[in-house]
């Protein structure tokens, strides 16, 4: 049956949303490694050279033993520094491998499951939801909520709180008008940023220049020109427009209304920088640009949505107390089905469950998405009976409801409108 097919877990494709969960520890391993590799190369070459030079100096008599001791002391300081860096990196590496282990264990749980109807799948999927929620909160800068949720669920190793908190710190410093933290980050990741042709550093340098110009003081402006010579004009080939804008800025004061200079002086440029930084950061770590929750929701809302979920006649009004029509015994059929109002299909009926799209949480959100495409009918019930008021129910459910409402034999009650009909008034309906 097709339904069984739909319930099967396709292991190849089921982990699309979980790619970053495994990828990120790997990217961080590489990043962590780079953070010690360059210092090591640098320090080891320099120590080797100094040892050689000192030895030569001593032989030729140019260096005194005192000088040799001094330079040995300097080398020792350097090596102890390297040792500290390596130890820290080794600890970080251990943490990352541990994190990867937890994630592998988490994904292995899924590998053991074959269908989504397995009770263990729900537990797994709930944990995935929690992961996606933490990811969402972190990406939108709700750091304490993310930490609280991760701790509450005991899944710190499955989410990347530290990485994102570090990112949001830099982001906030940019929003607060400071480039230093972001520049440091650029420096740490120089090679990778160049490889992906990020313009972040250039933008930050421009901002520094703009800020110096903003002061309007002679010395600062001279400083700005020197700054531009060093960090901006060399990029004339890559960013010709920006460079000439920067040059033009010399002629305009911060209160100018002339474009593009007015927007260069504008404070909203900081917001843009923060966004550019966040993008570069995500790209560097091979992370998707949008929160995973957005991706899951836009596909999930559509897959669940049906034309009935936002139908105008059956608008969801869950807050309204439902009229207690359990006492009506009138059997006057309503002439048209459309006139029969009130309870939404989902909220008021027996044994059917409330549809998540009809539920208040998601109803407004789902309004903008498309509804699912179905190639053939999928009915929740069988043995359909058409009541005189135009509503169709499964026979089993009608009988059950009649019994529960204590109706005399041979009568049925509409599950939504509460009207009572004789059992022989119902007609069989065939869906082909």
């Amino acid at each position: 049956m097709a339904d069984l097919e739909a319930a099967k877990i396709n292991h190849d494709n089921h982990l699309l949303l979980d790619q970053p969960c495994l990828r990120l520890p790997y990217e961080l391993l590489r990043k962590n490694f780079r953070s010690v590799h360059y210092p090591f190369e640098w320090d080891s070459t320099s120590v080797k050279n100094v040892v050689k030079d000192t030895a030569n100096g001593l032989i030729s008599g140019k260096t005194s033993p005192e000088d040799a001791v001094k330079s040995l002391d300097q080398m020792l300081v350097k090596m102890r520094g390297l040792k500290r860096k390596l130890t820290a990196a080794a600890e970080e590496e251990d943490r990352l491998y541990r994190q990867m282990d937890s994630r592998v264990a988490h994904l292995r749980e899924l590998a053991d499951l074959n269908t989504v109807d397995d009770v263990r799948y729900e537990a797994w999927s709930r944990q995935r939801l929690d992961r996606l929620l933490v990811d969402y909160m972190l990406r939108h800068g709700y750091d304490s909520s993310a930490t609280a949720l991760a701790d509450e669920r005991g899944m710190r190793d499955l989410v990347d709180v530290d990485t994102f908190v570090a990112m949001s710190k830099i982001r906030k410093s940019l929003e607060g008008g400071s480039v230093q933290e972001a520049l440091n980050w650029c420096n740490e990741n120089k090679k990778e940023l160049r490889k992906m042709q990020s313009n972040l550093e250039f933008m930050l340098r421009c901002q520094q220049y703009i800020e110096m110009m903003r002061t309007g003081s002679q010395t600062k402006m001279l400083e700005a020109i020197n700054h531009a010579k060093k960090h901006i004009t060399p990029f004339n080939d890559i960013y010709p427009v920006e460079v000439s804008n920067m040059a033009g800025l010399l002629a305009y004061r911060p209160d100018t209304v002339l474009e593009p200079y007015a927007s260069l002086y504008s404070a909203s440029r900081w917001q843009k920088l923060a966004e550019t930084f966040a993008e570069a950061h995500l790209k560097l770590l091979n992370l998707p640009m949008t929160p995973l929750l957005h991706i899951a929701l836009s596909s999930g809302l559509s897959a669940l949505k049906t034309p009935a979920c936002h139908s105008t006649q059956l608008q969801v009004q869950p807050e309204q107390p439902q009229p207690a029509n359990g006492t009506t015994t009138s059997s006057t059929p309503t002439p048209t089905a459309t006139a029969a109002p009130h309870h939404h299909h989902g909220t008021a009926s027996l044994t059917t469950r409330v549809c998540p799209i009809c539920s208040t949480e998601l109803n407004a959100l789902a309004r903008s998405v498309r509804y699912a495409h179905h190639g053939k009918s999928r009915l929740l019930e069988h043995d359909l009976v058409l009541l005189p008021n135009g509503r169709i129910y499964g026979k089993a459910r009608l009988d059950e409801y009649a019994a529960k409402s204590g109706l005399p034999a041979g009568q049925v009650r509409d599950l939504v409108t509460g009207e009572v009909f004789g059992g022989d008034e119902g007609r069989k309906v065939f869906v082909t």
Binding site: A7, H11, D12, N13, L16, L17, Q19, R23, F33, V51, A55, L58, I59, P65, A68, D73, M75, L76, R80, A90, D94, D101, L107, R108, V116, S125, Y136, M137, G141, A148, E152, H294, I295, A296, L297, S299, G300, A303, P307, T312, E319, A324, G346, L350, T352, R353, V354, C355, P356, I357, C358, E361, A364, L365, Y371, H373, G375, E381, K404, V431
Partner: protein, 440 residues
């Protein structure tokens, strides 16, 4: 199950990464460099003569080179371990680009935040929920007035104004959002109180105390009845059975309120109100008294087997409680995200296929591809007209024709010759005016 094997071999390879060389050995081997350097320093500082100094420094070159070489090897080993991990990932778990170029959700952050807050509340994560609500409010402090929705609504305006016109083609969407916020705005405190009540009652149910649940069901009996729910009776029935079992099973004090006499007293006091609807069951419960000495062999043992009864009533209690709040029993966010994970492969396949062509072939309201979901995620009956293969909607509703077959209205109109049509599925003919619009 090739996919499963791939996943498993990836996981196996990654588990082995645990034993691969690590950076810690490099950190350890730097000590050697430090040792060699300090040794040389002591020698030179001790003698302070140029000859010893130059000899020591010359002799130092090789050990230093060697020690650095060792550290370098360690680093290389650690690095190749990382690369091995990377290769495993690439081989068994190749990175597939997620569809992020058009993020339709980004325009509705306030609504997402609201859904998350409600999700946390319904899951009983009250502390996290209040942290979240606070954080959202401090981040968007533009509307300092009360209510969780207002700042979010403000936010929505500020984020993107033009969005609302193209959201679904009409500005009405936004008005509705406003209404929604005014009428049923997320009074988080109120909602939290409600869910706190639900969790207290559930906790009591878990501890096999039915009374708080019964009390709740009684005070909401009118609404429950309108929904066709027997929750109150089910709970009362279980209470009767529970008392009937006596102190040996229920651990309640052994007095006249417990045991068979307690059950009987309970029934006298409470079952009267259910007589109209549940007379037969009540009779059964009462007759069971006769079989009390040998209940397991009696025809009533079904009624009195309560191994899963508490879990069952807890589940139906949760369902009813949420329904009366207009909420589904399962978290919609959970369902939507799970459905999203199931449907995502189809979406990506479609996007790949259309990227080259740039064509779409269905209406703007309907997804252009099928996203099969398991039975458990079906909440409305779907009728697809067997002739036109279109899903029925409000504008093209399902119709039942006199022979009992169902068709979409547009199909029927096309089939009509004058005012008559012939059923495409059976030999009978019908008149257009006899076709009935139906609600499925």
């Amino acid at each position: 199950m090739e996919a499963k094997q791939k996943l498993e071999s990836l996981l196996d390879e990654l588990s082995k990464a645990n034993k691969l060389p690590r950076l810690s050995s490099a950190a350890h081997d730097v000590d050697k460099v430090i040792d060699v350097l300090s040794e040389a320093r002591e020698l030179i500082a001790g003698a302070m003569d140029p000859h010893t100094a130059s000899l020591t420094m010359t002799m130092l070159q090789n050990p230093i080179k060697f020690a650095f070489g060792k550290v370098n090897d360690d680093l290389k080993a650690a690095s190749s371990a990382h690369k091995k991990v990377g290769r495993s990932l690439d081989k068994h778990f190749p990175l597939k680009q997620l569809p992020t170029d058009k993020d339709s959700m980004d325009d509705h952050l306030p609504l997402i935040n609201r859904a998350i807050a409600m999700h946390l509340l319904r899951e009983g994560q009250f502390a996290v929920a209040s942290t979240f609500i606070n954080e959202v409010q401090t981040k968007h402090p533009r509307a300092p007035s009360a209510g969780f929705d207002e700042p979010m609504d403000e936010d929505e305006d500020e984020e993107d104004d033009e969005d609302h016109t193209d959201a679904d083609g009409s500005p009405a969407a936004h008005d509705d959002d406003d209404d929604d916020c005014d009428l049923s705005s997320l009074h988080s405190q109120e909602l939290q109180d409600k869910f706190a009540e639900m969790y207290t009652i559930l906790q009591q149910l878990k501890a096999q105390n039915l009374l708080p649940a019964i009390e709740w069901a009684r005070s909401n009996s009118a609404e429950l009845e309108a929904r066709g729910s027997n929750l109150e009776f089910e709970l009362s029935k279980l209470q009767y059975v529970w008392l009937f079992k006596g102190p040996a099973v229920n651990n309640l004090p052994d007095d006249q309120h417990n045991g068979r006499s307690g059950a009987l007293a309970y029934a006298r006091q409470h079952f009267g109100r259910f007589q109209a609807r549940h007379l037969r069951e009540i009779q059964q419960l009462a007759s069971a008294m006769v079989f009390a000495p040998n209940l397991p062999a009696s025809p009533y043992h079904q009624t009195f087997a309560i191994s899963t009864a508490f879990a069952d009533v807890a589940a139906s209690f949760t369902r009813e409680f949420c329904s009366l709040l207009g909420l589904s029993a399962e978290s919609p966010l959970y369902l939507a995200v799970t459905a999203g994970a199931l449907a995502l492969p189809r979406l990506m396949k479609y996007m790949l296929a259309t990227r080259s062509k740039g064509t779409e072939w269905t209406t703007a309201q309907e997804l252009p591809f099928e996203t099969p979901l398991p039975e458990s995620m079906l909440f409305h009956s779907i009728f697809v007209c067997p002739v036109s293969k279109e899903q029925t909607t409000e504008d093209n509703p399902p119709m039942v024709i006199p022979c009992g077959h169902m068709l979409a209205r547009e199909t029927l109109q096309k089939l009509c010759k004058g005012s008559r049509f012939k059923c495409p599925y059976c030999p009978s003919e019908g008149l257009m005016r006899d076709a009935r619009r139906v609600v499925l």
